[in-house]
Subunit: 432 residues, 2 copies
């Protein structure tokens, strides 16, 4: 894989795929060819993906999928947020539509499955239906949402927010991308406009449900050795910035009993924070991933430590209970160490649980295919989280190798991708 | 002090000095004038000092002190390391000499007392003896050592090492300063040479003892409200780099019980390390001042934490006992958290204890002056540490405001400086 020209995602995918999962019109070969075609758009030196939201590369990928949609007989529509919809008429075409898809943008040096697999899985169901002559009762829409990753503005989900009419347009207009371009300029660069973006809000009465296929970006399915699983809810992250302020001093000339060491206090805080989530909920997590010491000299007692706690759960109550316990812990520890602590809640996104009846229908779909229905929470955010604020949603996760994502090494075996398409197809059929 | 031209260290020093400490030939006004004259060499925008080792500013300061030495009747000699010696003949001039002094170089934006006070205190004793017509039995030498701070090569003490013949000349020849100049080029820039440096090693049979006055760079004397104190030993630092290697992962998609979080492990290590010194020795300290998290993203479980432990004590046994306990702790904690740990001892300088009899003679000198004799360890390194490797040494610390040093805000009251000169003078007289 060191020679860029020789990189072929298709070859890699088909290398360990024997066609055994093909059937009912679902084709591993077609899925591999399409994943491969999109991988060539914005291919990086590391054989990763570079298709930032609202870039020409993202547009090129959308246009290619739109072409496939048309070839599959779908009615294609582009909205003012750059979202692409491919609609298959239902037998009862005035019924509410079921929608499935994801995104085709990537982080700067990302992988080839995150997002793209969700779009192509929905399209593969359409292809399979076409081959087997199946027409659903309800209309079905394949969707590509714009700029899910947010690599551009350090905050994404702009496409799904446009469709749902959520998100604050005035806040978006204040955004500046890494090249100094404003949100309006970025839209215009790919033929969109602020007016068009505002008009992308959809009449939600037209939609019954959204279902998204996505790679897991974790290792639970790998550990269980299962191709795919049922998402029980999408965790809402809360990010809290803590600043512990003690007193800097010379490491040699300050006795141990006369110190106000911000890092010693922060360390007890980190160590104790790790114990909190499991006391509150099985699915809650708390992570301190980012930390800065000031002045950060070998022979200087730390005067200040700034750190960030990322707290998530799929239930709002337990997520907020963890937040409250972590805040109280920060106060207790600062008091014990005789130093100051400040905190600032930087983000507090509501979790989106997935309805029990939807999960049951997914379970039935797994059983119909003779597959084991494993349930797991989603710790990461997805377009389904935005849609799920106002509409019923479902999510399927596909096994990720080593849990890696946002990385050229991101990988899902084709057999697992195809198995996921089968479950998605069955679920969509069961939902008629 | 915001207008650079108006900065006058002399005015600031005399502002709260009423002359009450003057006497026995010791003059606060002269000391203030000389501190002031040197402060003007390399004065920074922040009214700090910038006289790196082997710079033209350091040389200018040495030359000014050499002029004062000559005016005071001392025989001045410059050695090949740039060290300056001003010798006062003793009544028994072939007896071993007592030496006192320090350095006049500074860190890039340092203060006006670190080093300079030690040189000028020794010279002030000579001035006082001259005024009162006292001639010591033994020869007395005032010394200015070159490049104590090591701002230039990230490691100093080059002057005292030259005189003592310690330090590895081949290692020094490999050094490159911040401007890319080699050790030899830097010497040549101020009229020195590698050959001259090698020849600066002194016949140690000529010397009986070295005594250094220095600002405390800590807050113990300030807390005790004492002008000066007796140093019990100079701590030898050991710097150990630890790398805790766990596994990075998505903060949302990795359950708490499936993590190998390097920062959680490092935090327990930091928290437990803080408890070790007091279990081993009253004067031992351990500090974790510098720490880096990788990849350091809010939503990424830390895969690696690199940190540095600075361990010091004035006794080798107890310092090394703390080192050993910290190393064992690192192993235990890595095992407990199921992660890897590597360590690398970056520095292991031997502590230099100060002989009990020398401390007793200092104590007597305090008592002779009706002053309270408070003892404290030196956590920082000094030229006395290098000299103390082969010769008897003594050290006096002067009270530092807020313990600040290596900083334009560094401050010692003139009354405290003058009191220190009185104790030094008495000690030198008692040592005859």
């Amino acid at each position: 894989m060191s020679d860029e020209n020789s990189f072929s995602l298709k070859e890699l995918l088909l290398n360990d795929y024997n066609g055994q999962q093909d059937g009912d019109g679902v084709s591993g070969n077609r899925l591999a060819e399409r994943l491969d075609a999109i991988s060539k758009i914005g291919l990086t030196e590391d054989n990763g993906s570079n298709r930032p939201g609202f870039s020409h590369e993202e547009k090129q990928a959308k246009d290619l999928v739109a072409k496939w949609m048309e070839e599959a007989g779908l009615e294609v529509r582009h909205d003012g947020a750059g979202n692409v919809f491919g609609r298959l008429a239902g037998k009862q075409n005035d019924a509410k539509a079921i929608m499935s898809g994801s995104h085709v943008d990537s982080v700067p040096n990302g992988g080839h499955f995150d997002g793209v697999l969700g779009v192509l899985s929905a399209l593969e169901v359409v292809e399979a239906w076409k081959e087997t002559g199946y027409q659903p009762e309800k209309p079905f829409e394949v969707v590509i949402f714009s700029d899910e990753e947010g690599a551009r503005f350090n905050g994404g989900l702009h496409g799904s927010e446009g469709m749902m009419g959520t998100g604050d347009i005035n806040e978006k207009l204040e955004l500046t991308d890494t090249n100094g371009l404003r949100f309006a300029e970025v839209l215009e660069d790919v033929g969109l406009s602020v007016e068009g973006y505002k008009a992308s809000k959809r009449n939600l009465d037209e939609l019954e449900m959204f279902v998204e296929v996505h790679i897991e970006q974790g290792k639970r399915l790998e550990k269980e050795n299962l191709p795919c699983g049922i998402v029980t809810g999408i965790a809402g992250p809360s990010w809290i910035e803590f600043t512990f302020s003690g007193e800097a001093g010379h490491a040699g000339n300050t006795p141990m009993n006369d110190r106000n060491d911000a890092l010693v206090a922060a360390s007890e805080f980190i160590f104790e924070t790790e114990k909190i989530p499991s006391q509150v909920s099985d699915s809650a997590v708390a992570t301190i991933g980012k930390l800065h010491v000031k002045p950060n000299g070998v022979n200087v007692i730390p005067g200040e430590v700034k750190l960030y706690v990322d707290i998530r759960d799929i239930y709002l109550d337990s997520r907020d209970e963890v937040v409250n316990r972590v805040l109280a812990l920060g106060d207790d520890i600062a008091k014990k160490h005789n130093i100051d602590v400040d905190h600032f809640v930087k983000m507090r996104v509501s979790p989106v649980p997935i309805a029990e009846e939807t999960q049951q229908l997914l379970e039935k779909s797994f059983q119909d295919k003779g597959m084991s229905a494993y349930k797991l929470p989603s710790g990461a955010g997805h377009d389904a989280q935005i849609v799920g604020g106002k509409l019923p949603i479902a999510m399927l996760f596909t096994k990720s190798k080593d849990g890696l994502s946002h990385n050229p090494e991101e990988w899902s075996d084709l057999a697992d991708c195809v198995q996921t398409v089968h479950v998605l197809k069955r679920f969509l059929e069961n939902a008629q």
